[in-house]
Symmetry: C2
Subunit: 338 residues, 2 copies
């Protein structure tokens, strides 16, 4: 019914202590005696006081909230990253606002504006697949609040980016396929405007080169990362006839492809070996023959959040780490290709 209209003034007058002291006590300022603090805390509880964070935020110009922009929360990798971010933020007393760009640059722009308008103290962002320039981040950056990129690396001023070494992971994955006897390796890739996909493709190509395998551009399928796209790519593979392995930038696409290939009587991994990127647990359950580049998801969230919170605290310190690279791990699920 009636909103809890208890303010610091109510407890101030009830106790005959000035509201400024009450404010300090409630914020656990060292400048208030323990005794007074206790008295105030007790009264506050008694009256059912709840701080009005809107007022507090206005006054301090801080919201104790970080914004997280994620391409899509339903993707397991991202929801696990979010779990890591939340754990870290909650422990530090920060709130988390999660927004999904749905891989759309327009939507991403709007979200940034909204987060700016809501004065979040910092942003963690994994840019959308459509994002190739960062002007829309500029206004936020100018505002002075920190931005940390995760998963999909970016170069924007000297903002920190937390990611794995996509080049190396791709190189290793491709080399793994080569070492298990494959030569005609197809690659599912994404938009080359995005650094992540560039790096992965480079890793793929360089592994081929190292082993003196000719790079065939027809073997690279650039597209989105849905199961549907995986199926489309698989059809392309069927037409090529001689493909004996797939290195996919994404599990979902890989699963779609495998599903289709199986319907065509292809045995996996015997006929075509598959390595996917991103560790979706369904792949483990459903496609035990899918070898996977396992990315640190939860850990990535924790680390990215920790860095962001650090930057929020030392507003001044502009000595930001340029980039943090985490290790990934190749999980080989089916021994038959070893």
């Amino acid at each position: 019914m009636k909103s809890n209209k208890i303010t610091i003034h109510d407890i101030s007058s009830a106790l005959n202590i000035d509201s400024s002291t009450v404010s300090r006590a409630l914020n656990d300022s060292p400048r208030v005696s323990k005794k007074t603090k206790e008295k105030i805390a007790k009264k506050a509880a008694e009256l059912g006081y709840q701080r009005n964070s809107l007022a507090s935020n206005l006054r301090t110009n801080r919201t104790n909230t970080i914004g997280v922009i994620v391409p899509r929360i339903s993707r397991n990798f991202f929801s696990t990253v979010i779990a890591g971010i939340e754990e870290t933020a909650y422990e530090a007393g920060f709130n988390v606002v999660i927004c999904q760009s749905l891989e759309s640059i327009d939507r991403e722009k709007k979200l940034i504006e909204t987060l700016l308008a809501n004065r979040v103290d910092g942003i963690l962002i994994s840019i959308s697949m459509e994002t190739t320039s960062y002007e829309h981040l500029q206004s936020y950056y100018d505002h002075g609040s920190p931005i940390v990129f995760y998963d999909r690396p970016c170069h924007f001023h000297n903002c920190t980016a937390v990611s794995i070494d996509d080049y190396k992971a791709s190189f290793d994955a491709t080399e793994h396929l080569i070492q298990s006897g494959r030569k005609n390796i197809f690659h599912f890739s994404g938009p080359q405007e995005i650094e992540l996909y560039q790096n992965r493709k480079r890793g793929y190509k360089d592994a081929l080169k190292k082993h003196n395998i000719e790079v065939n551009e027809d073997y690279c399928h650039e597209s989105g990362l849905s199961e549907k796209e995986g199926i489309k790519a698989a059809k392309k593979i069927m037409n090529l006839k001689n493909i004996d392995a797939i290195f996919s930038a994404n599990d979902t696409a890989a699963i779609g492809a495998m599903k289709y290939l199986k319907t065509q009587g292809i045995r996996i991994p015997e006929d075509i070996a598959v390595v996917g990127f991103n560790n979706d647990p369904i792949s483990e359950v459903i496609e035990p023959s899918l070898t996977t580049v396992n990315q640190p998801d939860f850990k990535m969230g924790k680390i990215a959040a920790t860095i962001l919170l650090g930057q929020i605290k030392n507003k001044k310190a502009d000595t930001k780490d340029q980039s943090i690279v985490l290790n990934s791990e190749l999980i080989i699920r089916n021994s038959s290709i070893n």
Copy 2:
């Protein structure tokens, strides 16, 4: 660098128009002439003015934000509900704060407190599996802001709940199994303190009764809804020996069970037919023999959000709809059990 310190006063003094008029103009009040509005809009753009919503929120005691509590964002059903909520809210100019309870009542409590502290204008909640009483919602409710339940029905004051008819859907699903010749139907259920699971179990039992099949309590497995639990239940089924069908309250559990059963040489659906609840798209792809109760997810989000926004607008109107029931649909994926 410097935060955009442009306030309405800056544009007020630049134009020699009082700040209150500026405020009105910026809010598109009908009480300001079109001419003045244009002049103000132009100057605002020129100076790069951005409203400080913190101040606005403090003044109006509204945040134009709704809170969404969801058990787990990674579950496809929920992430699609969220998509529906977001679409509706964004169109209406509202922000959405998504929080996951992770099925924990403690966490749910904290989230409610946080949302209350952040003065969201309304809450959409699908209660956690641990939630059997609603005291923790009381403080929020007392505050006067509306709460709408979705998916998992609740009776809390006269708050609206949007859900499907779980009883009927379960009845139909079970009857479908019976009509395809099954008699020993196992049921994966959840905590019976939760209305949703009660309803589903009732539907299951009543369908059996209607067809004069004895209800065997040993055939009901009450537990969480993970794949792991599905496997556990499947082991129980193997011991029972005579089970020829499963009606699961959840796709994920059903998939886990199917996976295990297959490893045991059980053919699905020939030996054991399976119906799952919740429409996880992976089930369609991966387990084409899994028949599913298809719930309206996106639509549910849209409807729940629309109702909540309506209640936020007509603060006074306490004539809340008690409950909204949406239709579900049985999607039969494998014709062999018809």
